[in-house]
């Protein structure tokens, strides 16, 4: 699912491939986490309460046939928001709102997001840097609630000590959109990357390059609505 959302984000930036963009958009509007089915919603509301969440608020799964999780939902929201900048429709707005509501429902108690749920067996889960950064990117045009403020503050505080390329890159991409200073973070990221030879996977390398280019190009995840 994230492949489709990220592809749509990319294609949103160019004028070609209108048919592919349309197909991706319609697929994203229809796709949903498995818990969106009435039977699972009923089960999670009545019989299975070990994980705290509102099953009426569903997003997107990593892979069809599984439940909604924070990162694919955030990418789904960004892709749909970007695609519908000039052509909003009721189904797309409804789908975006469901995704946003799911993210707001799953936020951790002290701000930020874990991979999917915030409380399991009554125990609050800690936030993850990447999930928080990507979720905040998807909420950039939403009302700045205290929860979004707390999440942003948490991310800023975490970013000060991160020594990992991927997490630091996502911090930069997110904080830049929220107009927070990122130059010191970019300098640290450049040092961590070095000549890039140590980075073995392309996704991390690509994210790092996008982060280093923040401010010099159109931000790939910016939402102008």
């Amino acid at each position: 699912m994230t492949t489709t959302a990220l592809s749509l984000c990319y294609l949103n930036g160019i004028t070609d491939f209108a048919s592919a963009r349309e197909k991706a958009f319609h697929w994203l509007v229809e796709e949903r986490g498995r818990e969106a089915h009435w039977f699972w919603r009923w089960k999670f509301k009545t019989a299975d309460r070990n994980v705290r969440f509102d099953p009426d608020k569903y997003g997107w799964p990593w892979i069809s046939g599984s439940a909604s999780w924070v990162i694919p939902t955030a990418f789904g929201v960004i892709a749909l928001k970007q695609f519908t900048v000039c052509n909003r429709s009721e189904p797309s707005e409804k789908r975006i709102r469901l995704g946003v509501d799911m993210l707001l429902d799953r936020a951790c108690a002290g701000g930020g997001w874990n991979s999917g749920n915030s409380i399991v067996y009554g125990v609050p889960l800690p936030a993850h840097v990447e999930a928080t950064a990507i979720a905040l990117l998807s909420l950039q045009d939403e009302e700045r609630t205290s929860m979004i403020g707390a999440s942003l503050a948490w991310l800023k505080q975490k970013s000060a000590a991160i020594e990992s390329v991927e997490s630091l890159a996502w911090c930069i991409l997110c904080l830049f959109v929220y107009q927070e200073p990122v130059d010191h973070l970019k300098a640290r990221l450049a040092t961590l990357i070095g000549d890039g030879r140590e980075i073995r996977n392309n996704a991390t390398l690509a994210t790092a390059i996008l982060a280093l280019k923040c401010g010099e190009m159109i931000h790939p995840f910016v939402v102008l609505r």
């Binding site: 498995r34 070990n50 799964p61 990593w62 892979i63 046939g65 599984s66 439940a67 999780w69 990162i71 694919p72 874990n114 991979s115 999917g116 399991v120 067996y121 125990v123 889960l125 800690p126 993850h128 840097v129 990447e130 999930a131 991160i162 020594e163 990992s164 390329v165 991927e166 997490s167 073995r200 996977n201 996704a203 991390t204």
Partner: protein, 328 residues
């Protein structure tokens, strides 16, 4: 003949159970068997993660007369999250095991893991303090979540998945060592060497967490994965284990043991007994005892000392009280 409702329900349930057992007998859900006549298990006593562990581990491994000379060894630890507490397999044990296999003649040692929740594997490796152990050029770390993938037909069919994409690094290894942290688990009851193999399933394909496996049944998926990628050896870290709401939010339990075994089922059964649980009550372990290894004590040879009976079973969530062995 008069038949009341109770008798009818009883007879129907009995027939269903008999049919189920007969079906399993005639049409087993697995196409391989790794069971051998006897399995070897050694329990090593270690109270702390000190430099003494290396001598202890190499002596322990020599008891098994392993032939790893010239082979590509893959160590699969349990590295889950950058959280405090006994969440991850201790880095000293992982690094020590890697050096021990090199001393035993392994051609190369790869430490491979694909964390299930945390997408940034580097963050987990840093938090686990594994980096200093990777300075040896003969020891490599591979992020199994982002490795090259190969589509593989599963060698058991408990989950109904049929096939999975699996990392090339795993499939190219000659000798797979599962290195779990001994922990309770809020969905599976326990997480030991078999459950640890969830970490070989690539999240780049199946997501963080690998939620599709949950929807297809955790116990069932464990069986299918372990039938497809056999575990050749187990080094279970139980010096400081986890009880209660594991695998992430539980509490530390000083068990003071490292469990070695040449059979993952025997290893997990032994670990479960050390935790005060009846291994037959762990669903995937009970089924694994049919074809993935030996569950019963009669078929397990203990090398070195026999385990002392545990004084207090590991605490578990109320849903898993049934795991506790009757003696407790």
């Amino acid at each position: 003949m008069n038949i009341d409702r109770r008798r009818f329900v009883g007879a129907t349930a009995g027939m269903a159970a008999t049919t189920g057992m007969a079906a399993d007998w005639f049409w087993p859900k697995y196409s391989v068997s790794y069971q051998k006549p006897r399995s070897l298990v050694a329990i090593l006593n270690a109270t702390e993660y000190s430099e003494k562990v290396e001598a202890l581990l190499i002596d322990g491994l020599r008891l098994f007369r392993l032939n790893v000379a010239g082979r590509r060894v893959l160590l699969k630890p349990n590295l889950v999250e950058d959280l405090p507490g006994p969440v991850n397999t201790n880095a000293n044990i992982i690094g020590t095991a890697a050096r021990c296999f090199l001393r035993l003649g392994a051609a190369r040692v790869v430490i491979g893991e694909g964390p299930g929740h945390q997408r940034d594997t580097e963050l987990v490796v840093q938090a686990a303090n594994l980096k200093p152990h990777l300075e040896d050029r003969q020891i490599q770390f591979v992020d199994l979540n982002r490795d090259e993938l190969v589509r593989v037909k599963l060698k058991a069919n408990y989950s109904g998945l049929g096939g999975l994409w699996l990392p090339r690094t795993i499939l190219d290894s000659d000798f797979v060592v599962s290195m779990p942290k001994i922990k309770t688990h809020h969905w599976a009851g326990v997480t030991l060497s078999l459950k640890n193999m969830f970490g070989i399933v690539p999240a780049m394909k199946y997501g963080w967490p690998k939620n599709l496996l949950h929807w297809h049944g955790i116990h069932e998926s464990i069986l299918d994965i372990c039938a497809t990628v056999p575990i050749h050896f187990v080094i279970a870290d139980g010096i400081t284990a986890m009880e209660g709401n594991g695998p992430l939010q539980g509490t530390a339990r000083d068990l003071g043991k490292i469990v070695l075994a040449d059979d993952p089922v025997a290893a997990d059964a032994t670990c479960a007994r050390l935790m005060g649980f009846d291994p037959l009550r762990v669903q995937h372990l009970s089924d694994a005892g049919r074809f993935l290894g030996n569950l019963k004590t009669e078929r397990i040879t203990m090398l070195g000392e026999r385990p002392e009976p545990i004084t207090r079973p590991f605490s578990v969530l109320p849903e898993f009280h049934y795991l506790v062995a009757p003696a407790h």
